[in-house]
């Protein structure tokens, strides 16, 4: 089983992250190694979920990809172009900024309170000269509002007149305005109420299907990530520890950190919760400074492992696949 070759069809790589390192305050006393050498691909048309707890480096990863931060070392390739080497203000940079958009976590802080909704949405249209005239601009804004479930009466209002869920819709409309190819959504729903979260997630899914978009979905709410993602990458202490398809990560988690994370998700079912035993994670094991790298231990399933751990992971993967898990992890 273990030397089975990956037979997945050739997928087109949209974003290639190679040996990305992001260190803040380098050389100073308060140096922070936010990302320590991570590599992964994002394929065209997929949703990659990036999960991890606060401080794991997931937001920094998103921001480095869109070059809000200049990487300390390593490359980010978007459609083959090295983003880290693009000059600010160059034509290629401008094109990159149009093709890649971001949806932010806080719908209150990410909209300028002094701007009307239509000007917020059309700012990108103006910068990239995507509208022929004012009438065209208005028409485009109205289409976008409709697409995200608002209506054209909302165009002349200000952000404070909207609820959190509606504001997030405005943020989504703004991202869509420049017809991007790739959207980074950084915790887009964690500030919203449960009943509103589902609305926004459905909207994101619809948009993706309609416009063939690629998503990087950053979140700590693991059940929502599983629902929206094709593949999931788990981050811990600035490193990737596991990467596989969403079902694979949830049904056959191999890295102890992933197992611990999954065992902590509260499930809205009292019988399951009563039987739950959270699996603690001993971080010292992964911090023993031995060389580790992402290794494919099962088809399309990568784990951050040292040389001698690979065989254990491979065996664990096969074992886990033999017994189809019926109970969520952590329930005994």
């Amino acid at each position: 089983m273990s030397d089975e070759k990956t037979t997945a069809p050739e997928r087109e790589i949209l974003v290639k992250v190679e040996h990305l390192v992001q260190t803040f305050n380098q050389g100073k006393k308060d140096e922070v190694k936010a990302i320590q050498d991570i590599s992964f691909n994002i394929y065209k048309g997929e949703t990659l979920g990036l999960v991890g707890e606060s401080g794991s480096g997931k937001t920094t990863t998103g921001r480095s990809i869109i070059r809000l931060y200049q990487p300390t070392s390593g490359d980010v390739l978007f459609e083959g172009d090295n983003i880290a080497k693009l000059r600010n203000g160059s034509k290629k940079m401008l094109a990159f900024r149009r093709k890649v958009q971001m949806i932010f976590q806080d719908p209150y802080a990410s909209l300028n309170p002094r701007m009307k909704v239509k000007d917020i949405i059309a700012e990108g249209i103006d910068i990239h000269h995507l509208a022929k005239n004012d009438a065209d601009r208005d028409k485009r804004v109205n289409e976008l509002l409709e697409e995200v479930g608002l209506n054209k009466d909302h165009a002349t209002r200000y952000p404070h007149e909207f609820s959190g869920g509606q504001r997030q819709r405005i943020g989504i409309a703004r991202a869509l305005a420049v017809e991007p190819e790739f959207i980074i959504a950084d915790e887009p729903i964690s500030a919203l109420d449960v009943s509103i979260q589902a609305q926004v997630v459905n909207l994101l899914k619809d948009i993706q299907e309609k416009q063939d978009l690629t998503f990087l979905f950053i979140a700590h709410d693991l059940s929502m990530v599983k629902y929206i993602s094709d593949r999931i990458a788990v981050m811990h202490y600035g490193r990737l520890v596991e990467l596989a398809s969403a079902d694979e990560v949830y049904n056959h988690p191999l890295h102890p950190y992933t197992q611990s994370l999954l065992s902590a998700i509260p499930i809205p079912d009292p019988d399951i919760e009563r039987k739950r035993v959270p699996i603690p994670y001993d971080a010292s094991r992964a911090e023993d400074e031995r060389p580790r790298k992402m290794t494919e231990v099962y088809p399309d399933h990568f784990v951050f492992a040292a040389e001698d751990e690979i065989s254990q992971y491979k065996a664990a993967a096969v074992k886990s696949h033999l017994k189809e898990q019926s109970e969520p992890i952590g329930v005994q």
Binding site: E53, S54, S163, G164, G165, Q166, D193, V194, S195, I196, Q197, A198, Q199, V201, N202, K205, H220, L222, S223, M224, K226, Y227, Y250, S260, L261, S263, A264, I265, P266, I267, P268, D269, P270, D271, I272, E273, R276, P278, Y281, P328
Partner: protein
């Protein structure tokens, strides 16, 4: 177990705003029993935080209590003077806030902060109070408490800070612990630890907990009983099994459906349509009716009363009216009903 420790009756609270009074709490009544954990669930603006803040006497200046009483130890908390409230807060009734980053004093060492309620409410010496602080800090899982008494909050992680907040709340062995989204700001792994800790402490000091959250997963893990709030009213209450496996109100159904479980494989998530009502001008009938796919004409016109489902379970929905038409349950709710039937069928027969 059945004796009531706190009783909220017919509570109505308005907030004065420039646009007119906001009816934040519209007739809320519930009892808290000794040693139990009552979870209050609802979305933002449903009135859950205002409810517990009124128990603590911590309402904002522009609030007005229209009617109601909160009976605790034979006295109405709402009628207490400032001095009487101060004697109660942090002593008989303590509160854990959502954000451990802002609920600690950044300029005071944590030992002093944890010992403060003891020094305020008892005649204990400072030295003994600090010794007690060490004991409680160890109880909440700060192992090297002796060495860390002089440390300041910024020297602790978010999870540790929330443990310190809990230590402050429990040092006087309160009879009632009010926890307002105590784990919302924390990571899931830390959240699991804090919930485990609260359960443990509850057994050790035999306190009653009111736990506010919007996360039904957390509720399933911690609650004995659950009250669901919507638009300033409790719309359903019952034991944790009754709410999760035998829910009756369409809003409760919507909440349960909107949570993706890890097995959810459907193409779309169920989303409750629309947005909550404006409490400046609350709707005449059932406040949830405009978002309710099962709404009938009467829902828009008349407030439904509570219909008793069992001695511990009731829901305010016209669907429970004897003459109401039977509705086809959503699949997720049907699945939960089957669990209910298999668990409790023998009792009903």
């Amino acid at each position: 177990m059945t004796d009531t420790i706190l009783s909220v009756k017919d509570l109505q609270i308005d907030f004065k705003t420039f646009a007119g009074p906001v009816h934040a709490i519209r007739d809320v009544s519930f009892d808290l029993k000794r040693g139990e954990t009552l979870a209050i669930v609802g979305e933002s603006g449903s009135g859950k935080s205002v409810t517990v803040r009124s128990i603590m006497g911590l309402l904002a200046n522009n609030s007005k209590i229209v009617t109601g009483e909160i009976m605790y130890n034979g006295a109405d908390i709402l009628k207490k003077t400032k001095r009487q409230l101060n004697a109660m807060r942090g002593n008989d009734v303590a509160m854990i806030f959502q954000d451990p980053m802002t609920s600690l004093d950044p300029t005071m060492p944590i030992g002093k902060q944890v010992a403060e309620p003891l020094l305020l409410h008892t005649k204990i010496s400072k030295k003994k109070a600090l010794a007690e602080a060490v004991r409680v800090l160890k109880l909440v899982g700060i192992q090297d408490a002796e060495e860390r008494l002089k440390d300041y909050p910024h020297q602790f992680s978010g999870g540790q800070r929330q443990r310190i907040v809990i230590a402050i709340a429990i040092i006087n062995h309160p009879q009632i612990l009010l926890a307002d989204e105590p784990t919302t700001a924390l990571d899931v792994t830390i959240q699991a630890q804090i919930i485990h800790l609260l359960k443990e402490i509850q057994q050790k000091i035999d306190t009653s907990i009111i736990f506010i959250t919007h996360d039904l997963g957390v509720v399933a893990g911690i609650a004995d009983r659950v009250a669901v709030m919507y638009a300033g009213k409790i719309i359903e209450y019952g034991t944790v099994d009754e709410i999760f496996y035998n829910a009756q109100h369409p809003y409760t159904w919507g909440l349960l459906e909107a949570m993706p479980t890890l097995e959810t494989d459907t193409d779309r998530l169920y989303a409750i349509p629309g947005t909550p009502p404006d409490l400046l001008d609350p709707p005449k009938g059932d406040a949830f009716a405009p978002r309710n796919p099962f709404a009938m004409q009467i829902d828009l016109e008349q407030q439904p009363p509570f219909f008793q489902v069992s001695p511990t379970h009731a829901a305010a929905t016209w669907l429970l009216y004897p003459g109401a038409p039977k509705v086809e349950l959503p699949p997720e709710i049907k699945r939960r009903r089957e669990i209910w039937n298999s668990k409790y069928a023998t009792k009903e027969a």
